[in-house]
Symmetry: C2
Subunit: 152 residues, 2 copies
Amino acid sequence: MTAPLYLEDLSPGRRFSAGPVTVDEAELIAFAQRYDPQPFHTDPVAAANHPLFKGLAASGWHTAAMTMRMIVDAMGAIAGGVIGGGGDLQWPRPTRAGDVLTLDVEILEAAPSRSRPERGSALIRYRTLNQAGEEVQVFTARAVVPRRPASA
Amino acid sequence: MTAPLYLEDLSPGRRFSAGPVTVDEAELIAFAQRYDPQPFHTDPVAAANHPLFKGLAASGWHTAAMTMRMIVDAMGAIAGGVIGGGGDLQWPRPTRAGDVLTLDVEILEAAPSRSRPERGSALIRYRTLNQAGEEVQVFTARAVVPRRPASA
């Protein structure tokens, strides 16, 4: 068990990391067949001939889901859970079968709520990197984070 | 088979729709166990006691994945596929087991590329609604879209 993290623990500049996670081709295809059934995500031969992808690529939403698993591993100690209302999501390049992904998290801002004394919000950047250190996803999002109780 | 859609077909203001999709509780829990293992997504009893969720809620990434399936159903006729580099993702309220989701798509902008004569980009807003017509997700994103070939 890790001690719970509160807003006061999320100083701007603080970093967290998680992974590695290896992208499994069978899971990549199964995810896409269920949620994003397009040939460049489900069919290695069709994908090889696609002018943009030039090979099988994970659904961006699968990259996002694998990233969330790493976020929970890295940040799950946040008291109350990792809860966000959305953010800016970018996929600079495709995720490929066999890629080895890691997560690099940086706290950008953290501030108490003006109206709710028991909580605050943090602006967090989650970068998902492949084995070459290249960004496959950058998600920048606000999270709701409890403040440390006086008794804690 | 639907005729392929090109940039010229995506006039600002044009709308597309898809769904309904009913959110299955077993799938909601299985998705979260794999990709977002937090008690408010995996355990109905713990979720009922969570101060923000007050009941089992789908992972936002599961809402996004179910939405992508509806996007492919609605827009899969886009020549070359529905391909984006990211966008702004918002989850205004939780998705619940048993919710009946629909997709409302609106083309906001469409413009040819200045450097690549064969393609352009469209700014598209994808709203995911529950059975009460409330937004559970709003994703606003640019898509790469081929222009209609002279021969088509």
